[in-house]
C-alpha cells in the first residue's frame, strides 16, 4: 500500500519544499497567534475539566459510593472508561510502530498526534483504576517497594499485571513520542524568534543537531522501540482482557478475550485518530500533509476491525452454545433478553452494522460520513466495555443477588469530563509542539520525489 501507483499520494503537491513543510507545521505555533477559535475551544473544555476535577475530588473525599456500583455489580463506569481510554491509546502506538515496521509511509503525517493521543489517553486511563479504588491513597501498595510490613504485591492478580502494563505503556509511549519529537524540537529551536522560545525548545531538544551520526543512532533506537511497541501494546490490551478472562465468571472466562481486546482497542483507537485527524487537519490547515488517502486507508483499517469484532461477538455466542455450559449460555441469553438488551442492540448496531458503510469508497472519503462513523464506533466500543462489566456482574452465578447497575451523576461526570481533559491536552499540545512530524514528512516528500 505504498505510494507507488499514484505519484504524490501521501502529500499534496501544493506545498512541497522542505522549508515549506517546516513552515506549514511550525508557523502556526511560532508565527501565528492561537486565534479566536482556539480560545473558544479552550473555554469549551473548561467545564469538562472542572467537572472531572470536581468528580475526582468528590470521590476522593466522599467515597467510591458516589459511583453507581453496588454489592453485585461492583465494577462500573470507572472500569469501562479505563478499558475504553486505554483502547483509544492503542491506535497511536500501532500507527507509529506497526506501520513503521511495515513501511507504511502514510503514517508519517499522522503518527505524531496519534502518539500524543496515546499518551493522553493512557494518562487519562491511568486515573480510573486509582479513583475506582475504595482506598485510592493506598494505590501504591500494588508496587513492590521496601516497607516496614514486609509485604509484597500479590503477583497472581491481573491488577498487578495491569499496574505494570499501564506504567510501562505510559512511560514507553512518552519516551517513544519524545524521541520522535527530538529532531522537530531542534527545528523549533532553530526557527524560534524569541529568546524564550529558543531556550525552551533548545533545552528540550537537548542539543540535537541533525548530525548524520545522530540520525543513525536515532534510527536504530526508534526502529527497535517500534519493534518493542508492537508486542507491548498487544500485551497491554491482552492484560486488560485478562482482567476479565482470568476470572471464573460467565461471559468473562473466555480465552478469546485477549486478542479480542487488542482488536477492539485498535478499532476504537483508529476511530479516534480519524476524528482527531479531521479536526487537526481543519484547525491547523494541514490539508497538504493529511490527505484523503490517509482517511481512505484508515477507513479500511476500521472496516477490517469491524469485521473482526463482529466475528468475535459471533464466536462468543457460538462458543457459549457449543460449550453447552449453563452459565455461559445463560449470560449470552441475558445479552439479548436481559436488563441491558437495548444497550446491547445499540452496541451491535454501532460496532457491526454501521461501519459496514466503509465498504463504499464514498464513505471513506467523505469526512462528514467518516467522522460520523468514527464517533459511532467509539460509542459502540464504550458500550461494549460497560456491557462486559454489567452483563456478567449483573447476571452471575448467584441468582439471588442478580441486580442491575444504578448509574449516578458521578458516573456521567467521569464519562464525559475526561473528554474535555483530552481535548484540552490536544489544544495545549498543538500550541507547543509540532503536531505533525516535520522530519518524517520531509523525508516522505523527499522519497516521493516531490521535493522541488
Amino acid at each position: 500500500m505504498s505510494g507507488g501507483g499514484q505519484a504524490h499520494r501521501w502529500i499534496a503537491p501544493a506545498q512541497l519544499s522542505h522549508g515549506a513543510i517546516s513552515a506549514a507545521i511550525a508557523d502556526p505555533i511560532q508565527k501565528r497567534g492561537p486565534g479566536k477559535l482556539w480560545f473558544y475551544a479552550l473555554l469549551a473544555t473548561l467545564p469538562f475539566v472542572l467537572v472531572t476535577l470536581g468528580a475526582i475530588g468528590a470521590v476522593l473525599t466522599v467515597g467510591i459510593g458516589l459511583s453507581g456500583v453496588n454489592t453485585t455489580v461492583v465494577w462500573g463506569f470507572s472500569i469501562a472508561n479505563y478499558v475504553w481510554w486505554i483502547g483509544i491509546g492503542n491506535a497511536g502506538t500501532l500507527i507509529s510502530s506497526m506501520l513503521l515496521l511495515t513501511r507504511q509511509r502514510w503514517r508519517a503525517s499522522i503518527n505524531r498526534f496519534a502518539e500524543a493521543m496515546t499518551l493522553f489517553a493512557a494518562g487519562i486511563a491511568g486515573i480510573f483504576p486509582i479513583i475506582h479504588l475504595g482506598r485510592p491513597l493506598y494505590a501504591y501498595w500494588l508496587a513492590p517497594y521496601p516497607n516496614t510490613m514486609d509485604l509484597w504485591p500479590q503477583w497472581r492478580s491481573a491488577l498487578v499485571w495491569d499496574f505494570w502494563a499501564i506504567l510501562s505503556y505510559i512511560l514507553f509511549s512518552a519516551l517513544f513520542w519524545f524521541t520522535g519529537l527530538l529532531p522537530d524540537l531542534a527545528t523549533m529551536r532553530d526557527r524560534a524568534t524569541t529568546r524564550r522560545g529558543q531556550l525552551i525548545y533548545g533545552a528540550l531538544a537537548l542539543g540535537w543537531r541533525n548530525s548524520a551520526r545522530h540520525w543513525q543512532v536515532y534510527e536504530t533506537y526508534h526502529k527497535t522501540m517500534a519493534a518493542l511497541a508492537v508486542p507491548l501494546v498487544c500485551s497491554v490490551h491482552s492484560i486488560v482482557g485478562l482482567d476479565f478472562a482470568a476470572s471464573l465468571m460467565p461471559g468473562w472466562q473466555e480465552s478469546i478475550f485477549p486478542p479480542y481486546f487488542v482488536v477492539g482497542a485498535m478499532y476504537s483507537g483508529f476511530a479516534m485518530v480519524v476524528v482527531i485527524a479531521i479536526f487537526v487537519r481543519w484547525g491547523l490547515r494541514l490539508q497538504s500533509v493529511i490527505t484523503p488517502a490517509h482517511f481512505d486507508v484508515m477507513g479500511k483499517v476500521m472496516l477490517f476491525a469491524s469485521v473482526v469484532m463482529t466475528l468475535s461477538y459471533a464466536t462468543e455466542w457460538f462458543m457459549a452454545w457449543y460449550g453447552g455450559e449453563h452459565p455461559d449460555r445463560d449470560v449470552v441469553r441475558y445479552f439479548f433478553e436481559g436488563d441491558y438488551r437495548w444497550f446491547y442492540y445499540a452496541l451491535i448496531a454501532c460496532n457491526c452494522v454501521v461501519p459496514q458503510a466503509l465498504w463504499f469508497p464514498f464513505a471513506r472519503r467523505n469526512l462528514w460520513v467518516l467522522a460520523g462513523i468514527s464517533v459511532v464506533i467509539n460509542i459502540g466500543m464504550w458500550l461494549e466495555r460497560i456491557l462486559i462489566v454489567w452483563n456478567t456482574l449483573s447476571h452471575g452465578h448467584a441468582m439471588s443477588l442478580w441486580r442491575t447497575y444504578h448509574t449516578s451523576l458521578y458516573d456521567l461526570a467521569i464519562l464525559f469530563g475526561p473528554l474535555g481533559l483530552f481535548v484540552l491536552g490536544f489544544l495545549v499540545l498543538v500550541r507547543i509542539f509540532p503536531i505533525v512530524s516535520m522530519h518524517e514528512v520531509r523525508q516522505i516528500s523527499h522519497d516521493e520525489g516531490a521535493a522541488a
Binding site: 517497594y145 516497607n147 516496614t148 510490613m149 514486609d150 529558543q198 533548545g202 533545552a203 542539543g207
Partner: protein, 219 residues
C-alpha cells in the same frame, strides 16, 4: 546563527536528566527511611505522665514483680493497668504526703481515674495477646526493653509489622524458660540457639509459616 546556551548549560542539562532518573529511587528510599525512623514508629519517645511513675525505682530498685500491677498479663490479651487502689496499697503507708503523688490521692478520693498517656500503641486492627506470649516464653523485656532502667517508660521496639514478623518467623532467639519471663535481668545464655530450639518444641510453638499468617494478628 549564534549559540543559545553558554557552555555551562551542558552540565546543568546532564544534572537535570540524571536527577529525573534518580528521583523515583531516592524518594522511595527516603520514604522507607522515614517509615522506619523513630519519628514514625514513636520509638524512644518519652511522654509526660500525670504521675512520673518510675519503673526504674519500682522494678529495678524495689524489685516489684511485673504482675503485681499488670495483673491480667497471664490471663488476658490486655496486661492490665493498675487501678488507683493498687498504688495506694503502698502509698497509703509510705510517701503519704509526697506532692508528686497528689494526683493518685485525688483519684482515689474523688473516684476519678488517673489518665495515663499510652506509650505502646498498636493499630486497632492488630490483636496482640499478652497471655499467649507470656505462656510461650517471651519475656517482658524482649519487647519492652529494660524497664528496670527507665525513669519514665518508653517504647524500645519499633512495633512495626516487620519487627513482629522477625520474631514470628524465627522465635527461637527470643524465647526463655517460662520461669524467667518476668525476670527483667535475664540475659540469653551462650547456647541460646539450642535452648531456643528446644523451647520451640517444648512450648509447641507453631511453624514460622503458620505464625506469619495474617489471621494470627488480624481479624
Amino acid at each position: 546563527m549564534v549559540q543559545i546556551f553558554r557552555p555551562g548549560a551542558d552540565t546543568v542539562a546532564r544534572v537535570v536528566l540524571a536527577s529525573i532518573a534518580a528521583a523515583p529511587i531516592l524518594s522511595v528510599g527516603l520514604a522507607y527511611a522515614v517509615w522506619r525512623s523513630p519519628y514514625a514508629t514513636q520509638q524512644e519517645v518519652t511522654r509526660e505522665q500525670p504521675v512520673p511513675f518510675s519503673h526504674e525505682h519500682h522494678v529495678g530498685g524495689l524489685g516489684i514483680d511485673c504482675r503485681y500491677c499488670h495483673t491480667s498479663v497471664e490471663q488476658a490479651a490486655f496486661p492490665g493497668i493498675p487501678p488507683t487502689e493498687t498504688c495506694m496499697s503502698c502509698h497509703s503507708q509510705i510517701w503519704t504526703n509526697a506532692p508528686m503523688l497528689a494526683p493518685v490521692r485525688t483519684s482515689l478520693a474523688e473516684g476519678r481515674p488517673l489518665e495515663w498517656r499510652k506509650v505502646h500503641t498498636l493499630p486497632h486492627y492488630v490483636y496482640f495477646n499478652h497471655s499467649v506470649h507470656v505462656a510461650k516464653g517471651v519475656g517482658c523485656t524482649t519487647c519492652h526493653g529494660e524497664v528496670q532502667t527507665m525513669k519514665l517508660i518508653r517504647q524500645v521496639a519499633p512495633l512495626t509489622m516487620g519487627w513482629c514478623l522477625d520474631c514470628h518467623r524465627d522465635p527461637a532467639p527470643n524465647l526463655r524458660p517460662r520461669e524467667a519471663v518476668f525476670d527483667t535481668n535475664w540475659t540469653p545464655p551462650p547456647d541460646q540457639k539450642t535452648i531456643g530450639a528446644q523451647l520451640v518444641k517444648a512450648y509447641h510453638i507453631k511453624s514460622p509459616e503458620r505464625l506469619s499468617e495474617c489471621s494470627i494478628c488480624h481479624r
